[in-house]
Amino acid sequence: MATFIKEHIVIVERCRGPEEAIRLLGDRFLRTGTVGEEYIDRVLARERDHPTGLSLEGGINAAIPHADPVGVFRSGVALGVIRQGVGFKEMVSERDVRVQLVFLLAADSSAGQLALLQRIVALLQSREVRERLLFSEREEQILRILAKGDQPFRGEEPW
C-alpha cells in the first residue's frame, strides 16, 4: 500500500492544540485499520514528554508525532494541514512553535519508522514543498505533492 492515501489527509482551518490535531489524524488511522486505539494514546503521551515540533526556515513549521512501532497494523503517514497553525512544543527546546503541517507516523517496525522519518524529513527540507502543501485546496493536490517523495530525494540532503 502507498505510504500516503487520500483517507489520511486532512485540511482544516484551525485546531485547538496538539492533542486535537493528533486525535484528528489518529481517527483517520483508526477508520482505515492502520493502528489500534492504544497507539494513539501512546503518541499523545510521547508528545507530552518528548515534543516533536520543528521550527523550519520560512515559518511554515511541522510536527512529527509518533510512538514506538507497537500496535501498528500497517505503516502509514497521516498529514494534517492546519491552515491557521496549531501550537506545538518544539523538539529539545520545548519552546512554543506554531505548526501548520502535522505528520502522524505509524510504522510496523523500527526500520520502517526510520524510513518514514527519512522521507518526511527530506520533504520538509524544501520550503517550496511546505508552501505548496500549506496552500493546497484539495487532498488530491497534496497527494500529488507527496507522491513526488516516492522518487529519490534530489535536494541537498540525500537521505
Binding site: R46, H50, H66, M91, V92, L105, L114, L117, V121, Q125
Partner: protein
Amino acid sequence: MVKKRVIVICGTGVATSTLVLHKVREFLREKGIDAHVQQGKISDLLTSGGDFDLIISTTAVPPSVNQEKVVNAVPILTGAGKERVFEEIEAKLTNEGE
C-alpha cells in the same frame, strides 16, 4: 588519546536518534575523528550520563546532566543550521582540555 564516548539520544531511542546517528557517524568519518558513538534514550543518561563526553540529543536533556556536554541535534534533522551543529560537535570532540 582516549577515544571519546558519544551518545545520540531521542525520546524513545528509535527513530530520530537513528537518523541523527547516521549523519554523525558519516561526519566523524569524513573528519577522521575516532570516537565511540552509540544510540540511546533519556533513561540511559540517568544511569550513566557521566560516562559520556558528548550527548547529541533530539529531546530535552534533564538538568541533572552536565549541559556543557549536550548538543541540540534538531538542526541535523531539519537541515537549517546543521553546519554550526557539526562544528560544535567537532570542537567538543577535538578540544583536549574539556
